[in-house]
């Protein structure tokens, strides 16, 4: 298994280590519920070095990204982050990734860990065909990434940051320093809380980790693992690549239709158009279990006796104190308040379709424009 630069620290903290897409990652340090709640009420620090970064550089960098990604990026400002999707030739989602604009001719794609190599192949192949004047480089091994998430994140990070964090709106970033180390500080994350994604040279990321934990400990900051990351993102209604989203899923079947700009060309548009005209047959929905039981990935979903879908993510929700999940169901059963049953071993558990997200934080009335 591949190890992040923080692996020795996880071992020293007695983390439980699991194989996540070929990476030896901490799933929990104390326990998932504690780490989850710490993130919701205070702040937690996550090792996210396994995620990928692809640099796209050159005069025609934007042209390449416009051709490769579903979202229109012409109005993206320097210092802004945009979520987008990279599709295969069948219109299926290879990756849902974020685009960082550093300069008119310099972008990063921040990728999920599992599809990283497929992303690189796809974007490189498109570049080869379209012959734009730019280059694509996988810089993941040189870059480390930490996520500092939770309402106390700004308070913890500010004394170590070389920039005024309150001036960074949601889904924006600054090139600055953290603990005197050159770093990119982005106000974004995967937990549904305020917080930051911090990028720095892989060689120096451990110093930032140490300094943040030192600085944050008196406030209540703790390290958190992939277990809490998963329950946090699920409560926030965010999908997990490789589980909720695979290459067999088109963006119209999941809550990603808003990432598609039909007014431009992009790789995978033709099959997606066909899909839009034909209409989708299944949709990803959120559900809550009524009563007892926890639905897990792969469990079958029924309407009466008829099998109508499968659970893709399911867990106990520490914030809501009930079992929640995401499932693909036939479109006629996708309306909120629809009653479903889910086979949990011998039990048929009652469930109801609900709107996403399951959990939404109370936002401060900030000036920051919510423009993801």
């Amino acid at each position: 298994m591949k190890q992040t630069p923080l692996y020795e620290r996880h071992v020293a903290l007695h983390a439980k280590i699991i194989d996540f897409g070929g990476w030896a990652m901490p799933v929990q340090y104390s326990n998932v519920i504690d780490e989850h709640r710490t993130t919701r009420i205070c702040a937690a620090l996550f090792d996210i070095c396994h995620m990928g970064e692809i640099e796209v550089k050159g005069p025609q960098a934007l042209d390449l990204l416009q051709a490769a990604l579903t979202r229109n990026l012409t109005d993206q400002r320097i210092g802004q982050v945009k979520l987008s999707a990279l599709l295969n030739d069948q219109g299926g989602v290879i990756d849902d990734l974020t685009v960082y604009k550093f300069q008119d001719d310099l972008y990063w794609l921040v990728t999920n860990a599992t599809p990283r190599e497929r992303d690189v192949l796809r974007v490189t192949a498109l570049l080869r065909n379209l012959k734009f004047d730019c280059r694509v480089e996988d810089i993941s091994d040189r870059i480390g990434k930490l996520d500092l998430q939770g309402p106390q994140s700004e308070k913890i990070l500010q004394p170590l940051a070389g920039t005024d964090l309150s001036a960074i709106p949601y889904y924006h970033f600054r090139e600055s320093t953290v603990a005197e180390i050159p770093a990119i500080v982005s106000r974004s994350g995967y937990t549904g809380e305020d917080g930051f994604e911090i990028y720095a040279a892989a060689d120096h990321i451990a110093s930032i980790w140490d300094r943040l934990l030192d600085m944050g400990a008196p406030i209540g900051l703790k390290p958190a693992g992939l277990g809490a990351r998963d329950t946090l993102r699920l409560e926030a209604g965010m999908m997990l690549n490789g589980q909720d989203i695979t290459e067999e899923v088109c963006p119209l079947e999941v809550p990603y239709a808003w990432l598609v700009d039909w007014n431009k060309d992009f790789a995978g548009k033709a099959p997606l158009l066909a899909c839009r005209e034909k209409g989708i047959r299944r949709r990803l929905i959120g559900f809550e279990i009524i009563g007892r039981g926890i639905a897990r990935n792969g469990y079958k979903v029924y309407a009466g006796e008829k099998e109508i879908g499968r659970v893709t993510s399911g867990s106990f929700s520490p914030t809501l104190n009930k079992a929640i999940g995401l499932a693909f169901v036939d479109v006629e059963y996708a309306q909120p308040a629809t009653r479903l049953t889910i086979a949990i071993r011998e039990l048929r558990a009652q469930a109801v379709v609900v709107n996403l997200p399951f959990y939404k934080r109370k936002k401060k009335t900030l000036t920051a424009k919510e423009d993801v």
């Binding site: 519920i33 504690d34 277990g227 998963d230 329950t231 007892r292 926890i294 071993r345």
Partner: protein, 132 residues
């Protein structure tokens, strides 16, 4: 580290404990080591009273936030009682695995079956092996 293992009961290789209540009835739970491995237990599926189990059958299910684990019957017999307190407070297993967190009472088919279980010392040796 997990708590010391009470000497007043026997243990299975699958991390259940078995305490004799009378000549024919035993109380069954999972060990403190097992709950520590599972962490934050959020759901317990109890067996139906009256169900017959064979040694090694999955008789209950314990779920943490991230995992689903079977609890195996450490002996053969009939389930005569279950700890319904676990339905609303499954974390009793985390806080008191050897006491309040008991799972079921089993009426033994054959008391001789207890001889196949491990003593506290033998069980401790087993988990030492597992953790090293």
């Amino acid at each position: 580290m997990s708590k010391p293992h009470p000497q007043d009961r026997l243990y299975s290789q699958d991390h259940e404990w078995v305490k004799t209540e009378s000549d024919t009835v035993v109380v069954v739970g999972i060990t403190d080591y097992a709950q520590e491995m599972l962490t934050d237990i959020v759901f317990v599926e109890l067996p139906q009273a009256g169900r017959k189990v064979k040694k090694g059958d999955a008789m209950a299910v314990v779920e943490s936030v991230k995992s689903v684990s079977d609890v195996y019957a450490p002996v053969s017999g009939e389930i005569i009682d279950t700890n319904t307190a676990l339905e609303n407070t499954p974390d009793l297993i985390n806080s008191d695995a050897f006491g309040e967190g008991w799972i079921a009472k089993i009426k033994l088919d054959d008391a001789n079956e207890l001889q196949s279980l491990l003593t506290a010392d033998a069980y401790e040796a087993l988990i030492k092996e597992e953790t090293h």
